[in-house]
């Protein structure tokens, strides 16, 4: 493994329903934890990358406001956006800047205060979540697109509503032991199956919990990482991809090609195989998204994701522990903060500091799969210690 760019600090706020403060104060919570974790101060940061989905922000161009409040001026700052995968897109940019030698230490700050806008405004934005020229006029919404992927996956591969319910029941088991999670209740498979339908075949608990939250990841060059950090976690592979916004441009609806491309590129860069990954965080905005992730990441062959679920391979002591922090489903999904929070979980796992969520056996390699839109953007990041 080439050890040239590292993560030296991670932080996240507790994910909550209604954060009783402003976006700058929310971002500060993650920054403070990451800075303390890295043992650095604002003056050590050479640049900051601020990540959020702007449709939820009242503040125009929030990067400046966040950088000011964190004490990160006059260093360069700017925003990076790819909806739900914004903060791993920011991480990709931070990696590139450090690898290029432009900066030694870069902070990636992700945040979202989804309660910043009213429920009515949220409903209105929901209508513009797909291609506004060709598909929004039919009244589509994000859960509907994932539901269409679930229906297609059921038909193509024989997966079932019960498989999806098992994914959610698993996430609640771990959400219950994660103090930073927004949804702490434990649900049984039957609870999930009995819940009201949102958009067939997805039911209430197949959908992630909206939340307010922030995350921060501090990226450093090898020299600075070795100097500052006892347990640096190294970038092994970064892959990224995109796909058509319109569903009509997709080859099929039972897989996400952007995530497949991102995974292939990340594995190739890292020089590893899927079975080398010992702990993973995948983008489970809906239960079906976790199923699609198993197959995109090669944890299972296409169509065999159901075996991971039915055999419990995805549990904390299973073959490939997935989302043992509760995932987006239970930990919550504050859009711009999500990727950074996933990265934090993997960094803690690789440092053997994940507390009750720690995967046994001291995992050496972990993976983060973070998707924006319905497979519109995808980032896969492989980390090692």
């Amino acid at each position: 493994m080439s050890k040239d760019v590292a993560i030296i600090g991670v932080g996240q706020s507790t994910f909550v329903r209604n954060y009783p403060g402003s976006i700058r104060e929310l971002a500060f919570e993650a920054w403070r934890e990451a800075a303390q974790d890295a043992g650095i101060t604002a003056k050590d940061i050479n640049a900051s990358v601020i990540c959020s989905a702007p449709e939820y922000d009242l503040q125009r161009s929030p990067a400046g406001v966040i950088a000011e409040y964190l004490g990160l001026t006059p260093q360069p700052t700017f925003a990076i956006e790819s909806v739900c995968s914004s903060s791993t897109s920011g991480l990709r940019v931070a990696y590139s800047m450090v690898k290029a030698g432009l900066h030694d230490i870069v902070a990636v700050v992700g945040f979202q205060k989804m309660s910043e806008i009213t429920s009515a405004d949220s409903q209105e934005r929901m209508g513009r979540g797909s291609d506004i020229q060709w598909e929004s006029p039919f009244g589509t919404m994000m859960p509907a697109y994932y539901a269409m992927h679930a229906a297609a996956h059921f038909k193509q591969y024989g997966s079932t509503e019960k498989d999806l319910a098992m994914i959610r029941a698993k996430s609640t088991t771990y959400g219950a032991i994660n103090e930073r999670a927004v949804y702490r209740k434990v649900l049984t498979v039957d609870d999930c199956l009995d819940a009201p339908v949102v958009t067939s075949p997805l039911k209430k608990f197949d959908c992630c919990a909206n939340a307010d939250g922030s995350s921060c990841v501090i990226v450093a060059s090898a020299d600075r990482a070795k100097e500052l950090c006892k347990k640096p976690v190294w970038f092994m592979g970064l892959g990224s991809g995109s796909a058509s916004v319109t569903l009509t441009g997709r080859d099929n609806c039972y897989g996400l090609t952007a995530a497949m491309k991102a995974a292939q590129d990340a594995y190739a860069m890292a020089g590893i195989k899927p079975q080398d990954v010992k702990v993973a965080e995948v983008h489970d905005c809906f239960t079906i998204a976790e199923m699609l992730a198993y197959e995109a990441l090669g944890f299972a062959e296409p169509g065999k994701g159901v075996e991971i679920v039915r055999e419990g391979q995805n549990l904390i002591d299973g073959k490939i522990p997935v989302n043992v922090d509760g995932g987006l489903l239970s930990k919550g999904h504050p859009i711009g903060a999500t990727g950074g929070s996933q990265v934090r979980t993997i960094v803690l796992q690789l440092r053997d500091e994940a507390g009750p969520m720690q995967v046994p056996g001291q995992p050496e390699i972990g993976l983060v799969h973070n998707v924006g839109g319905v497979g519109l953007y995808a980032n896969v990041t492989i980390l090692g210690r």
């Binding site: 009515a120 409903q123 209105e124 929901m126 209508g127 513009r128 506004i132 020229q133 060709w134 598909e135 929004s136 006029p137 039919f138 009244g139 589509t140 919404m141 859960p143 509907a144 539901a147 269409m148 992927h149 229906a151 297609a152 038909k155 009201p196 339908v197 949102v198 958009t199 067939s200 075949p201 997805l202 319109t246 569903l247 009509t248 441009g249 997709r250 609806c253």
Partner: protein, 136 residues
């Protein structure tokens, strides 16, 4: 004709392919096909990403298609609440995929992937133009 006549609710008013709406008014659903390289597009495009030409023919979507996937939506964004529940989905017409809603006349219980559908144009009470899938 302005493009904002397209859809139950429109979000876009200007496009070079606004003739799409004129065809809807005539009862036709059309995509475009590049005159230079032959690539087919639905939804229609003014410009070909394959050969960079902007010389397009209007290609009719007709015949029988296969339903690729669908969902019965119990919730809707702002502006669509009155229509709930409704079914959105995608169908494949001889290699050209079309996204849209299924007609309310189709019994929701009967909808399944692979079912045969056709497209027909519709006009809502407020004059908005669109198309929907019906059983073929």
């Amino acid at each position: 004709m302005s493009f904002n006549k397209f859809g139950r609710k429109s979000f876009a008013s200007q496009t070079k392919v606004d003739a799409f709406v004129d065809y809807l008014e005539k009862g036709e659903v059309r995509g475009t096909q590049c005159k230079s390289c032959g690539k087919k597009f639905f939804p229609p495009r003014a410009d070909c990403d394959q050969c960079l030409s902007s010389d397009m023919d209007w290609m009719k979507i007709e015949g029988v298609g296969d339903l690729v996937t669908f969902t019965r939506q119990g919730f809707a964004p702002t502006g669509f609440e009155k229509d709930v529940p409704y079914t959105t989905g995608m169908a494949n017409f001889d290699g050209v995929q079309v996204f849209g809603r299924l007609a309310d006349s189709i019994n929701a219980e009967e909808v399944e992937i692979g079912m045969k559908v056709a497209v027909r144009t519709i006009q809502y009470d407020d004059g908005q133009l669109s198309y929907e899938f019906i059983k073929a």
